[in-house]
């Protein structure tokens, strides 16, 4: 995995902690592949919506179908993959 990917995942962890007020957590406490919802970090449906806003504001990526949420937001890595895939596509089309 590239250095960029690691950097992106670390940045994401910081953003998630800040945005979702996870004051008891540090980026190091969130595993790259740890499930973010329910039994993992314990996020809920409102957190998922907040993550959608985060992607839009910080990465200019629009997740218009809420049903894609569980797949995209499974872990920090799946979010990072989604960002990489979609910002790449964005560059090609613009």
């Amino acid at each position: 995995m590239s250095l960029n990917m690691d950097k992106l995942m670390y940045k994401l962890k910081e953003q998630i902690i800040e945005r979702l007020h996870l004051k008891d957590l540090k980026p190091e406490n969130i595993g790259d592949d740890q499930p973010l919802f329910v039994e993992g970090i314990g996020l809920d449906s409102i957190d998922a919506l907040e993550l959608i806003v985060l992607l839009q504001q910080e990465y200019n990526i629009k997740l218009s179908n809420a049903e894609d949420g569980p797949r995209v937001f499974h872990s920090v890595r799946t979010i990072a993959d989604y960002i990489t895939a979609n910002s790449g596509a964005l560059k090609v089309t613009t």
Partner: protein, 399 residues
């Protein structure tokens, strides 16, 4: 304790009409009031259908006799509240024994939004008069002042169950002998605040909503106001009027699951419905029609349906969600649907769950899909479930 609480008057303004008659007509013509935004200014106007009341603020002001500068919620509230009093033949001389319990969730948000628009560009701009009526309570006070009711005035704000709670609070005060007349219900106008908020929750359908349909995609927001004049036996004699119905049972419970989502088993909904039946002293089989909360969201309809399946077992009453006509009128919805429930009893009619194509596969029952006449309806249950886990069921019965 055993004394009854009667419904002696009703008033309503919604996306399907101003007044009881206009609403009844649209209901029987199966004519929904949801469509493209005309009065609300929003960047989503082309994309999100809403159930608007088909009058501008100026027109509402002219009907209500209030200033067009007041919050739209207050204008709607005044129109429906006045109709209920007029319908019952209530007289100002009764005001000492009258309470006004009104619900709303947005207050004067529409005016506050206008203020902020100007204020955010220039902190010296914006009319302060636009924010003085922001609080939910201010809307109630404005209308109470206009109607001349000062003895007991309160605002209930428990999200989408607000006006259902206002109704039973009034019924309870009458049962306790505190008052003889209770003008109860609620109002809410569409605002960008609520529209944007629900949009970020991703529960707004971009098409017309389809409650209890397998392919439902969310709710449409609506606006409106509705009120009942509840009276004691004493009050009824004084009015010399034949009552529409009895308020025969009610209950409220908390789902204790999530800030906005219902528990998958519908725990709160089940408790509210079951306790309302107990309160009315009747069996599930004695309910002839359920006016569903039925918002059209994945979450509500599955939770509500699951609770109904458990409670009514194999003898499912006829049921429908009239939100397919009006949209979800939030703080007004409990009262809007109480009016429809009482019309069902009085007229012997049942309203269709419009646009139902594929009933939800999870349940052995399905909502009514066509308008039904000549029905014998003794008791109707009306469900209202709100954010914050607040769940209420009301039961009205033929007087």
């Amino acid at each position: 304790m055993s004394s009854h609480t009667f419904v002696a008057g009703m008033g309503i303004v919604s996306a399907i009409g101003n007044g009881l008659l206009a609403n009844l007509q649209s209901l029987s013509n199966e004519k929904a009031g949801i469509g493209k935004m005309k009065f609300l200014q929003s960047i989503h106007s082309g994309e999100l259908p809403v159930g608007e009341v088909k009058f501008s603020n100026g027109e509402l002001a002219a009907i209500s006799g209030l200033s067009s500068q007041l919050p739209r919620t207050a204008l709607l509230s005044s129109i429906a509240a006045y109709e209920a009093l007029l319908d019952a033949g209530w007289d100002k001389s009764f005001s000492q024994r009258t309470g006004f319990i009104s619900a709303n969730t947005v207050g004067g948000m529409d005016k506050t939004e206008n203020f902020f628009k100007l204020f955010s560009k220039n902190s010296a701009a914006g009319k302060l008069a636009d924010v003085v009526n922001h609080e939910c309570g201010a809307v109630t006070e404005l209308v109470a002042g206009q109607l001349g009711i000062r003895h007991f005035v309160s605002t209930v704000s428990t999200a989408c169950s607000s006006s259902a709670n206002a109704i039973f609070t009034g019924a309870r005060m009458i049962r306790a002998g505190m008052i003889d007349y209770a003008l109860v219900g609620g109002a809410d106008a569409l605002t960008r605040f609520t529209l944007n908020g629900f949009n970020t929750l991703m529960i707004l359908d971009k098409e017309l909503c389809k409650p209890f349909d397998e392919n439902r995609h969310g709710l449409n927001l609506g606006e409106g106001a509705a009120y009942l004049l509840l009276v004691s036996e004493n009050g009824l004699n004084q009015l010399g009027k034949k009552p529409y119905a009895l308020v025969s049972g009610y209950a409220n419970a908390n789902d204790a699951f999530h800030q906005t989502a219902s528990s998958p088993e519908g725990t709160g909904s089940y408790l509210a419905m079951k306790n309302a039946l107990d309160n009315a002293g009747i069996q599930p089989g004695e309910i002839d029609y359920i006016n569903l909360h039925g918002t059209g969201t994945q979450n509500n309809d599955i939770a509500e349906g699951t609770a109904i399946q458990l409670l009514f077992d194999q003898s499912f009453p006829k049921m429908s969600s009239t939100k397919a006509y009006t949209g979800h009128t939030l703080g007004a919805s409990g009262a809007v649907e109480a009016v429809y429930s009482i019309l069902a009893i009085q007229q012997g009619i049942i309203f269709p769950n419009l646009r139902l194509q594929t009933p939800m596969k999870e349940f052995p029952f399905k909502p009514v899909s066509g308008f039904l006449r000549n029905q014998k309806i003794k008791s109707v249950m009306s469900n209202s479930f709100g954010f914050g886990g607040n769940c209420t069921s009301l039961i009205f019965s033929a007087a």
